[in-house]
Amino acid sequence: MASEPQGGLTEYITHHLTHFKPVRMSPEGFWSVHIDSLTVSLVLGVIFCFWFWSKARKATSGVPSKGQAFVEIILEFVDGQVKDVFHGDRRFLGPLALTVFVWVFLMNAMDLLPVDLLPWITHQFGIGHFRSVPTADLNLTFAMSITVLLLVIFYSFKAKGLGGFTHELFTAPFGAHPALWIPNFVLNIVELLSKPVSLSMRLFGNMYAGELVFMLIAGLFSAGSWILYGMGIVGYAVWGIFHILIISIQAFIFMVLTIVYISMAHDHH
């Protein structure tokens, strides 16, 4: 870690903010591939699917085990949210909402591990940089929100038909007069594009800022005096407890907004 606070702290933080990119294969900038985010999100997805599948396989209608009861609580919670908002066939939206909620929550929860833990473990295997929170990677949050956008467009076509959708694109909300086609279209495109952008940036901003505050507080540990070390421990614990609330709220918001956008796409006018 850092020997002197100022230069060392900045270098510590920028070191921890660098992604693990395969040097030979991946270019810099827009097309760079972040192996660390991909790996962690894949592992967490497999853990989630395996966990829920194993509980469903041994599900009894008698007295449930604790694990089964926990899975049922989560399932009923998500199903309740879907039922409140969406008045159609819930067989697709329910599992989608469950996946979004539990997967985003697990990925966010990676932020609660100590900042140096996963980078230290992967350093033993020779990997220089590793960022352990997938949702603090803009690529991943945009991937999820663009998927939601594609689903919204798909359900718009399915509910209104090709002609109905284009008609609505050009005539809502101002009216059907041909002079209003351009303003209508612009407004509808802005509305359609603002949904995935806000969805992903909200999750990214929360997780990135949280991770950065963890790193800044961890930087206090090497700042020198014992008082700062003690303040670092207290600060880390307090911010960690606050962050538990934040990650739950952000996963919940992502799920609710996914449900709301898809159910709005299903509505006829």
């Binding site: 920028t14 901003g205 919940f252």
Partner: protein, 95 residues
């Protein structure tokens, strides 16, 4: 040195901008949460049986209100540690 003076100027303005981003964002977010919280407490006092329903909605709204502020904080932190505005200065100096 010329280069150091230019870099210092860009960094100085960036620091002021970061302070404004975080400050104004926090101002908006806190006032918004305050108004929402006070309305929630009024509604809870008027109709206590609705508290569980309203509480769920309140957390949803808290996350939405904090969104723009935290996006601003994330951007500000990004500028604090890897300032892209410096690349123009460095390009002129190096090239």
């Amino acid at each position: 040195m010329e280069l150091a003076a230019h870099l210092a100027q860009v960094q100085g303005f960036t620091a002021i901008a970061l302070g404004l981003i975080i400050g104004f964002g926090a101002l908006g977010a806190c006032i918004g949460i305050g108004i929402m919280g006070s309305k929630f407490l009024e509604a809870a006092a008027r109709q206590p049986e609705l508290v569980p329903l309203l509480q769920g909605r309140m957390f949803l709204l808290a996350g939405l209100i904090d969104a723009a502020f935290l996006i601003g904080v994330a951007l500000a932190m990004f500028f604090a540690f890897t300032n892209p505005l410096l690349t123009a200065v460095k390009a002129v100096a190096g090239g």
